[in-house]
């Protein structure tokens, strides 16, 4: 056999690496600054400045989106572009696509930074961006994917290192999650309703939300860890075998765990159980990966004292271990009962975002900057100072939120008299008791931000006046072996036999008696045939797997299959089930046009950031808010508004709990009604007019989505809104609250007074057996 390899020099395209790195630092500072502001708002409500675009409800989505998509997103792209080129020994396939990716992504972030404070939102956490931006995200993601896979196609290294596997899983899974969770029908250029509603929307949202953490904040950063940590330590990863097990276990398990965000809610119990069990199983691969990262430093631990890059990486991987220990712990139903809706969850996500993502980003930037600008880091001392400021900042933040969360959980669930009376009926007691911890949290966040400003200064000083350089390498370009292709990858004995075995095993377990028996025999027959095939052909199936690892296309399909399985099992049954027939005997009464307008104001102001609409199947919740929420009570809610945090009380049964005037004065100045409240004032609701003109189109879209609105004309809608508005205004007048029917406050009151209104129906959704009934709370809880 002749060796046809030729030697050639490749110059990597490191321009996008520099661009994404600078963008990540800049947007990271913006995102963290907004985070510090909103953390301080929870201690000092005055910092909402009575200004719509500066209120907590609108800025919190800006903070989360900026940190996830702008800070970590740009950091991830920098790491992927740098490491992929070097791991596959090929220059990025298209400079044009790299630039389109970079500038497109920045335009998306800029659009988000403008629209979110304006209150243009879809009302779903980490999925708030409006539909035109969603389309832009999907398109730019495809551009990234094409450029990445095209680069793999041009590679001069046959094998795909495990970091590349993590990147592949990220590209495939994020595309799937993002598209499904953002399926919406537009009502205007800036507004849409998601196609899923109620429990379906909740499930799809957290399937996305959880896996955004998994496949946007974790898998790409693990790929970065597997490349940059060995580089920084100057030795190979501790165990490559362990990294392979880490990858497949993580990719297979992660996708199932989403429902742990909905424990003790009206989500079907089988989904809750699946979410909990798979979350617990995640412990193993996560810790396998964490230990693999840390043990890579074997024999190089002395560098920990002197090299800031290693410091950041070691602390980052340690926080990964902490977060992935805490995550499964919080997914255990009784632990979740205490922690959910409290600051404990905030502590958990910040240990991940600041500790894992923030420190891995810092380590990578300090490692990259001297190489990208061909000059030593400006100040190692400043990098060390950044490390300690950041570390103390995280610890202050996380520990204060742990204490705050556990205090809130304990206080709000505590009962007397054998569990029949709430120990702390006033919700605000839990808020005021943890107030000093909000100050500590803001201080911790500020310290972390200060550290990142030092990083920005340090890298600026390193780069300024220096020449930007691209890495070059000499490689031997070999004639490429014949690719497996998709058909070759899957139309072969191992895949066919294993697929048949799985299908027959499932049929054996799930089908009725005779068919089940046939499946059992078919299973045994297939098994015998498989043994015979191996015996006669002397096939070694391991070769198929080994070849798969060198063939990006079939490997990508296999990865996609691994993640699709969990999604299909969880999402399909819940989405195709007839919601009208599975509502537990209670069905939501649809909104009137004015109530729908009020609901859109509720969504616009981001009320879901502090208020849930879901009474859990827990004693504390039921005593405080009334009977637990049923599936049918939110089936017409597009988007669902169950929330994930209770800085204020649950609102699922807020309707008729207080008079209209209570809401009127409460929205104008919450402290007038609830002394000690941290809620912002909403003065603009008293001056701005309700958008009635858009209601016709909105109702039309709601009808398409299955909400039983009557077909109405524009005039009928206006008349209906006016009549209901006048009724509320007249009622308000009796309590000396003056306004006019066309003000937003009136629409919002109409919505708040509708919350929890439902009708009893038969087991298959028949018409009401008796008049609508709303159960009041059993104690005088506020």
């Amino acid at each position: 056999m002749t060796n046809t390899a030729t030697k050639t020099t490749i110059e990597y395209d490191d321009t996008p690496v520099r661009q994404f790195m600078i963008a990540s630092i800049a947007w990271g500072i913006v995102g963290m600054l907004v985070g510090v502001l909103i953390a301080t708002q929870l201690a000092f409500f005055q910092l909402n400045f009575n200004t719509p675009w500066l209120t907590f409800g609108r800025l919190r989505p800006l903070h989360t989106n900026a940190v996830i998509f702008a800070f970590v997103g740009n950091m991830m792209f920098a790491g992927v572009y740098y490491s992929t080129q070097r791991l596959v020994k090929a220059r990025t396939a298209s400079k044009f696509l790299s630039q389109l990716h970079f500038w497109g992504w920045q335009a998306i972030i800029l659009a988000a930074a403008v629209t979110l404070p304006l209150g243009l939102t879809r009302g779903k956490e980490y999925a708030e961006l409006i539909w035109p931006i969603n389309i832009a995200v999907a398109l730019i993601w495809v551009v990234f994917g094409i450029n990445f896979f095209w680069t793999l196609g041009r590679r001069n290294e046959r094998s795909l290192y495990v970091a590349i596997w993590f990147y592949i899983s990220t590209i495939i899974t994020v595309a799937m999650l993002y598209i499904v969770n953002h399926l919406s029908i537009p009502t205007s250029l800036t507004h849409s309703y998601p196609i899923f509603g109620g429990v379906q929307d909740a499930l799809v949202q957290w399937w996305y939300g959880h896996n955004a953490v998994a496949f946007f904040l974790t898998t790409p950063i693990l790929g970065i860890m597997y490349y940059f940590l060995p580089k920084a330590a100057g030795r190979p990863v501790y165990s490559y075998r362990l990294s392979v097990v880490h990858f497949w276990s993580l990719v297979f398990l992660y996708i199932w765990a989403g429902p742990h965000h909905l424990l003790n809610t009206s989500l079907p119990r089988w989904l809750q159980s699946l979410g909990m069990i798979f979350s617990l199983m995640l412990w193993a691969p996560s810790w396998g990966g964490m230990l693999n990262g840390l043990l890579t430093l074997r024999g190089a631990w002395d560098k920990l004292r002197t090299d800031p890059v290693i410091k950041f990486f070691v602390a980052g991987v340690t926080f990964y271990g902490m977060s992935t220990f805490e995550g499964p712990l919080l997914s255990i139903r009784p632990v979740n009962a205490l922690a959910h809706y409290s600051d404990w969850i905030i502590a958990h996500v910040h240990a991940g975002a600041l500790g894992w993502n923030g420190f891995m980003a810092a380590g990578m930037f300090y490692w990259l900057a001297p190489r990208l600008w061909n000059r030593p880091l400006h100040s190692v001392a400043a990098a060390n100072m950044h490390f300690w400021l950041g570390l103390v900042g995280i610890l202050l933040y996380v520990s204060s939120m742990w204490v705050s969360g556990i205090t809130q959980g304990l206080m709000l669930s505590a009962t007397h008299e054998n569990g029949t009376v709430l120990a702390n009926p006033n919700f605000l007691d839990a808020v005021t008791s943890t107030m000093f911890l909000m100050h500590i949290r803001a201080l911790g966040g500020f310290m972390f931000l200060a550290g990142f400003i030092i990083l920005a200064w340090n890298i600026w000083k390193t780069a300024s006046g220096a020449q930007a350089v691209n890495g070059t390498v000499e490689v031997f370009v070999e004639e490429k072996p014949k690719a497996m292709g998709l058909i070759g990858g899957f139309a072969n004995a191992p895949v066919i036999f294993i697929t048949l075995l799985i299908v027959f095993a499932m049929g054996w377990g799930a089908l009725p008696r005779v068919a089940s028996g046939i499946c059992l025999w078919a299973f045994l027959g297939t098994f015998m045939a498989m043994i015979a095939h191996k015996e006669f052909t002397k096939a070694t199936w391991g070769q198929w797997y080994e070849r798969l690892l060198e063939n990006a296309l079939p490997f990508t399909v296999l990865t996609a299959v691994s993640v699709f399985i969990g999604g299909i099992v969880q999402i399909i049954p819940t989405v195709i089930i007839d919601t009208a027939e599975n509502i537990e005997g209670v069905r939501q009464i649809p909104y009137t046009p004015l109530e729908l307008a009020g609901r859109d104001i509720y969504v616009r102001e981001g009320c879901y950031n502090c208020h849930s609409q879901q009474i859990r199947t827990l004693v504390g919740d039921v005593l405080r808010y009334g009977d637990y929420s049923k599936m049918g009570e939110s089936i017409y809610d597009h988007p669902y508004q169950w929330g994930s945090k209770r800085t204020g009380p649950d609102l699922a049964r807020e309707g008729s709990k207080y008079p209209n005037s209570w809401h009127f004065f409460h929205m104008r100045d919450p402290r007038q009604i609830s002394p000690g409240s941290r809620m912002p004032n909403y003065p603009w609701l008293f001056t701005d007019q309700t958008d009635i003109a858009s209601l016709r189109r909105k109702i039309e879209v709601q009808r398409k989505l299955g909400v039983p609105f009557k077909e109405t004309t524009k005039d009928e809608i206006a008349a209906s809104c006016l009549a209901q508005g006048e009724e509320i205004v007249a009622n308000l007048k009796t309590a000396s609250a003056e306004t006019t029917p066309d003000r937003e406050i009136v629409a919002l009151i109409s919505y708040l007074q509708k919350l929890g209104k439902s009708e009893k129906v038969g087991p298959h959704g028949e018409q009401p057996a008796e008049p609508a009934k709303t159960e009041p709370p059993k104690t005088a809880a506020k």
Binding site: S83, Y226, P236, R241, S273, F278, G471, E546
Partner: protein, 57 residues
């Protein structure tokens, strides 16, 4: 009423099925990984350590 009534019956087997799925997947992957040739492991784990001109600075 597929919630909390019919589905409660599942609870006992669901945990076992979940464990079974994971065990099979994990077992296959662990076996394949364990049987990876040592020279292949050595080559793969050293891929990030191959330097380019940037690394010589």
């Amino acid at each position: 009423m597929f919630h909390r009534i019919l589905v409660e019956e599942w609870q006992r087997v669901l945990t076992t099925i979940s464990f079974g799925i994971f065990l099979v997947t994990f077992g296959i992957i662990a076996l394949r990984t364990w049987r990876m040739p040592r020279e292949s492991i050595r080559r793969l784990e050293n891929l990030p350590l191959e330097n380019d001109t940037n690394d010589h600075e």
